[in-house]
Subunit: 415 residues, 2 copies
């Protein structure tokens, strides 16, 4: 039996779940791991009722010589980054599920950790209770990964699921997500794709040891998705999901976040409600998918405790060596298939005009369907074969100016 003392900084949803789960499962954890976890102190700015010794001063944890592992559960960059760095400098291992601080500052954090010969683990930062980072780092160590992509934001998946299942528009589904507590009062971080971009950056860093500037990640949220798009997508065998995508190309990475049409036969298509799932492709393993709850106190506590035990039992490999700088491919260069919905007068020659522009710009059409006509205006849905984004943009620019086209209503990538 090994006694390990921890301190928890930030005692909100996640921090208190960690404390509570350790209290309830301590015997089971000890039996399974040989580690006797003791929560020595918990800290929060605001006074909290807790089973454990409580402080409002984080340095009582950071400087406590009896604490060997600090759990950072504040969230956000400041003051979380400062506490993480000071804990590391004080020789403490750090476990966190803070996606923002890891996405933005992992390189610096790793550097300090290595100098102090301690570890930083952050399994809970992507996919909540899903052990995806551990899988990428340890269980797939024999593989050359080519792609890691998936549904990493529960809020937007809930919204898209409700739109799909109940025929809601975006704003109605968002209201529902807020009522359920799945979306925050200011939902921007989720619906505009920032949260997913942080996670995409972390997946890229862990899967490919790539130093990725999160600001360079192409990011598109779900606010433009309408029920009409979801309905047409469904008719041709697709569901709409917000994906974080990391792909290894020859000497660069594709890292991007955007909505995509996912074939109904793809395992990601069945991931509904606020669940997350990450799909991994590599040689020799082929294809794997990891599915589970992407957020919430309890699932995240599961990830944090496994990190704590990994550090405590010495079974965590140090995530070592500097991250390699890996250029992120410009979105203009990325190739994808596309769904385009546009509105045009319902008259002879319209399609011919559009098709001509696509042909001139070497954009190849896979299928065209004329959908409902209201008044004299027809909705046309066009599926495109793989095309480089810049060629598509050039074609759409011209099409937008055609007198026979009223408007391009939406353009969505196809997985």
């Amino acid at each position: 039996m090994k006694q390990v003392n921890i301190g928890i900084i930030g005692y909100g949803t996640v921090g208190s779940a960690v404390g509570e789960v350790i209290r309830k499962n301590r015997q089971a954890i000890l039996a399974a791991s040989g580690v006797n976890l003791e929560v020595r102190k918990v800290c929060d700015l605001r006074k909290k009722k807790t089973f454990y010794p409580f402080t409002q001063n984080p340095y009582e944890i950071i400087k406590d010589p009896e604490i060997s592992i600090v759990v950072e559960a504040i969230g956000g960059v400041n003051p979380a980054l400062r506490y993480i760095l000071e804990a590391l400098k004080n020789g403490k291992h750090v476990v966190t599920s803070n996606k923002e601080v890891i996405a933005k500052h992992l390189s610096e954090i790793l550097e300090v950790a290595q100098r102090s010969k301690v570890q930083v683990l952050f399994e809970g930062a992507v996919g909540g209770g899903i052990p995806i980072l551990h899988a990428l780092r340890q269980n797939l160590v024999g593989n050359r990964l080519s792609e890691v992509y998936g549904i990493v934001n529960g809020t937007t998946n809930y919204i898209l699921s409700k739109m799909t299942e109940e025929g809601l528009e975006f704003s109605e589904a968002l209201a529902k997500a807020k009522a359920k507590g799945y979306a925050e009062a200011d939902p921007k971080m989720d619906i505009e794709g920032y949260d997913a971009a942080f996670k995409a950056a972390i997946l890229a860093m862990v899967a490919f040891r790539a130093k990725v500037d999160w600001k360079k990640i192409y990011r598109e949220g779900i606010t433009k998705i309408t029920f009409e798009d979801i309905k047409y997508a469904s008719e041709i065998g697709y569901v709409v999901k917000l994906l974080a995508i990391v792909k290894r190309m020859e000497n660069q990475l594709e890292v991007r976040v955007h909505p995509a049409l996912v074939p109904k036969s793809h395992p990601l298509a069945a991931v509904s409600e606020n669940f997350n799932a990450i799909y991994v492709k590599g040689y020799p393993v082929g294809e794997l998918m990891f599915y589970g709850p992407g957020a919430g106190g309890n699932p995240t506590a599961s990830a944090i405790i496994s990190d704590i035990i990994a550090v405590a039992s010495g079974s965590a490999e140090i995530f070592s060596g500097p991250l390699k700088s890996f250029p992120v491919q410009e979105v203009e260069e990325i190739k994808s298939r596309y769904y385009v919905r546009l509105q045009a007068p319902d008259r002879f020659g319209v399609l011919a005009g559009i098709a001509k522009v696509f042909a001139e710009k070497k954009v190849s059409i896979a299928a065209v369907t004329q959908k409902e006509t209201v008044g004299n205006v027809a909705t046309i849905v066009i599926l495109l074969h793989e095309v480089q984004e810049k060629n598509l943009k050039a074609a759409l620019e011209i099409i937008r100016g055609l007198p026979v086209v009223h408007r391009i209503s939406n353009v969505i990538r196809i997985l």
Copy 2:
């Protein structure tokens, strides 16, 4: 950099995949883990062409002082068990994906390993390339698991998928599986559920540290499943899957293998072809699912190499301590919901007679549908609420004897 020499005993599909993947991915593995893997020798009874030094004598590997990890890739119990035990006694760690030897002899193998202070890992034994055992042992260490169940046999999943998608009968789908190389000439181990029972035993041992006698596992294959059952199940929102189920009850375990109706909304329902998926429930994580290729040389090699690296880098926890004896609940005591299909004359009073028997035996009916009538014979599908197996059996015994019932065509559990 750490140099680690391995030997591979058994150079068929799995063994040669391990050799080949190490040859191709050695640099990537070294970069990710700091371990330089060298395949020092490979062994097979039959001469094989290989890139590595070859022997037909396994003791050239078992007794080689320069080899620290032995990969056993022979399969079956004999002589694999002998080689595993002798390698352990010679101070070598052992990595294997041999489900049969692990299901039948894990206790003995662990005992010898502990005496010799070496490790045995067997990630590839369940779910092929899916890192499920690692997840159960390390990533979910903070959890109290309640259920682990899933699709662990690719052959039967392929057969059931083809029956469902193409309207085939069992024998036709089996022929297709044989033609594809997914089913062996003698398919008994797969279609009668033996393979799944081995994996159920291993899941029970790893998830609950339970010593499970695999012979006590209730086991039912898929040979009785007809397209008619699949069709009726689909009409009421279910798919038919062969499941391995491990559930923790108060002081005992349920461990069983049988076909089951799975709701189409359950993540397991979307697992088709020869893929595997394992679903895990526990506190605090909630629900997770791990999906991937359940067999084949390359996926299994991915699992074996991650085990090798875990041992080599010291990040594998020793799967230590004796397994606890855990009584396996008698199948008679297990509660489940059921689907019952029977044939009866299409006349007044038949349903009343059947319903009366169920009521007397305290078996509660959830729904009854009369399906097609051929001649004067009607097919009746009955869905039952949760009932203890022994009560159901008693009721069915009486119903079978009713003059108004021609035959009970099938009885399938509902997940």
